[in-house]
């Protein structure tokens, strides 16, 4: 019994607790590993560990959690929202830790573990000592996986089957837009709109018989809402549009006929807003006109 009790005490002093989640505990456990498994390569990594541990002491960052250290990597992307500080950064971790600090800890920890295992120490023996390193590596992998999922969801929203198809002019405009440096990670939430629709609906009074179709052109931008979940089961969420649009509109005269020339100059200028596939266009030129319609090509490749 005494032997078992002593073994438990020994294990408790050697191996950090399974829920060790702070940078201080991580560096302590690595220092222990460096002492227990000496070799020239381990010593080289031990020197790097000392440098990192010194930074932790200087910055008084021992109590920072592994989650905070992971966030420091996740929030380092120079996107517009990060630069503008629109995204919440937890506990000012990024201010406390130098750039690449978490990556440095990750590298030192994983290399020490691999070197010791490659030297013939069984994983079962050495890995309890590396519990915080393994936890940090796993958190970084989970964060990376979540980022990849999020990016794929964005591509789904912008390019998936429920996204608005582009007409020929929009394909060319948006191809050209790729050459414009924009402060967004791929995919950009911005898309150019250049649409011609002969099927907008308008009315001159509240009577059904006054409804008629009217042509309009629209030039502007479409902005995708990447926070909207593309495949949500929530009814409220599913009603929320995945994109909005606004810009210039040209509305035909009522007397213009069914398919007026889109390049003709006789369009009445105004503005439009769009929610999802629906848009509302308005002009006050040569009489007030409100037009309601649906985005999307009627004839493939044309408009």
């Amino acid at each position: 019994m005494r032997i078992i009790a002593r073994a438990i005490v020994l294990a408790a002093t050697i191996a950090p607790s399974a829920n060790a989640q702070t940078l201080g505990e991580l560096t302590d456990s690595l220092r222990m590993a460096v002492q227990r498994y000496p070799s020239p390569v381990v010593a080289a990594w031990g020197k790097k560990l000392d440098s990192l541990a010194q930074i932790i002491e200087e910055k008084r960052a021992r109590d920072l959690t592994l989650d905070q250290a992971t966030d420091a990597v996740a929030n380092r992307s120079p996107t517009f929202v990060n630069v503008a500080r629109l995204r919440r950064v937890s506990n000012a971790t990024a201010d406390k830790l130098p750039a690449n600090f978490t990556n440095g800890l990750q590298e030192v920890g994983n290399n020490l573990l691999t070197e010791i295992e490659n030297a013939g120490v069984a994983a079962k023996t050495v890995e309890p000592l590396f519990t915080p390193v393994i936890a940090l590596q796993k958190k970084l992998e989970n964060a990376d996986f979540a980022r990849a999922e999020s990016r794929l969801n964005r591509y789904d929203i912008k390019y998936g089957p429920s996204s608005p198809a582009l007409n020929g002019v929009e394909v060319i405009l948006n191809y050209a837009l790729q050459f414009v440096p924009l402060p967004f990670d791929s995919p950009s939430p911005i898309e150019l709109v250049a649409s011609y629709s002969p099927t907008g609906a308008t009315a001159s009074s509240a009577q059904w018989r006054s409804f008629r179709l009217i042509a309009n052109t629209r030039v502007g931008v479409r902005v995708y809402d990447f926070d909207r979940k593309a495949n949500t089961k929530s009814l409220v969420e599913s009603l929320r549009p995945t994109y909005y649009s606004l810009g210039y509109t040209g509305i035909a005269d009522l007397a213009s006929g069914a398919l007026p020339d889109p390049l003709h100059s006789n369009w009445r200028p105004g503005g439009f807003v769009g929610l999802g596939s629906l848009y509302l266009a308005y002009t006050g030129v040569r009489g007030k006109q409100l037009v309601f319609g649906r985005n999307g090509p009627i004839l493939p490749y044309l408009f």
Partner: protein
């Protein structure tokens, strides 16, 4: 539509293989026969493999539907025909199929993200199977055709990304083998160079940078750690996608990896295909073409992935049985 989840497997040992397909309309499960064939080839190995396939054609379908890729492709083929001699006119159709991702930045990056997610899933599967250290995970990749381009670009972009969790120096994850079969990387680099001013963010494309190198990451204690312990490029001498036209190598369009450490470069004579003249080859290539669809690649076709695997079964076992 729902984005397909990455493939998940339990690892039977400490090793796994990822297959990255090329042009085609592959649906999940379509490469099961190839996985089965590879499982047979690897059966004598010391440890069994978990075999994964990356299916990403749903992404190509998105972009084809939204951006009218067919139209872009036709315009591109017209441009290529001006630059390529009549003898190789049939090959232009294959070049068109592999070159279009360079024109659409998001199309390329979306596939890279799907591949990265699959690799992260494989690492998560390894953990679930009891392997906690990425440095002890033995992962190999076999890519074919356009899959080589996506693999090559993805590995470079992952290695250069400080947010990537599984880089070689930081996580110690190194691929045992990255095997390119019928790679169009050289072809894309050469043909893309002709239209470089029309390629958005061309500076980010590693396929445009010669000589071809594999990604590596500087270590904190000095030196560089390679992402791949062994890099293999197998190019069929009858396969236009790899830069060959009936045994005639177009050097500028060939994926030369001779400067890569631990490289294996094989120019496969493809003798068992029994194609004895340029006319025979032209006929086989022409027969495989379909309107508004990727080519139909039969087993006798010089671009067939099954053919590459079968002809190099012995070497595959040797490379993967680490």
């Amino acid at each position: 539509m729902a984005i397909p989840d990455p493939i998940q497997h339990d690892w039977p040992a400490d090793r796994a293989l990822l297959l990255v397909h090329g042009i085609g309309n592959a649906a999940p499960g379509d490469y099961a026969p190839l996985e089965q064939r590879l499982a047979e080839i690897l059966a004598p190995a010391k440890k069994p493999y978990a075999i994964y396939s990356l299916y990403y054609d749903y992404l190509n379908d998105w972009f084809a539907g939204k951006e009218q890729v067919g139209t872009l492709n036709e315009a591109l083929r017209g441009e290529l025909r001006k630059n390529i001699s009549r003898d190789f006119s049939t090959a232009v159709d294959f070049i068109g199929d592999v070159i279009w991702p360079v024109l659409l930045n998001d199309a390329r990056l979306a596939v890279q993200m799907a591949l990265r997610r699959q690799l992260l899933q494989m690492v998560a599967d390894a953990r679930r199977s009891g392997i906690n250290n990425p440095g002890q995970m033995h992962i190999s990749i076999i890519a074919h055709s356009l899959g080589c381009f996506h693999t090559f670009e993805t590995l470079h972009s992952m290695c250069a990304d400080p947010q990537c969790a599984i880089t070689p120096a930081r996580s110690r994850l190194q691929f045992d083998n990255v095997i390119f079969m019928a790679s169009p990387v050289g072809l894309i680099g050469e043909v893309g160079g002709w239209i470089r001013t029309a390629v958005p963010q061309s500076g980010n494309l590693w396929s445009f940078r010669r000589p071809y190198t594999m990604p590596s990451e500087p270590s904190m204690i000095g030196g560089n750690v390679d992402y791949a312990k062994r890099t293999v490029a197998i190019t069929g001498k009858l396969d236009p996608v790899g830069g060959y036209f009936f045994n005639d190598r177009w050097d500028a369009a060939y994926m030369d990896i001779s400067v890569v450490a631990n490289d294996v470069q094989i120019d496969d004579p493809q003798t068992p295909l029994n194609i004895n003249s340029a006319g025979d080859l032209e006929a086989i290539l022409a027969q495989s073409l379909r309107d508004h669809a990727p080519p139909d690649i039969s087993d006798r076709h010089p671009h067939s992935w099954n053919g590459y695997v079968d002809r190099h079964a012995t070497e595959l076992l040797q490379w993967l049985d680490v």
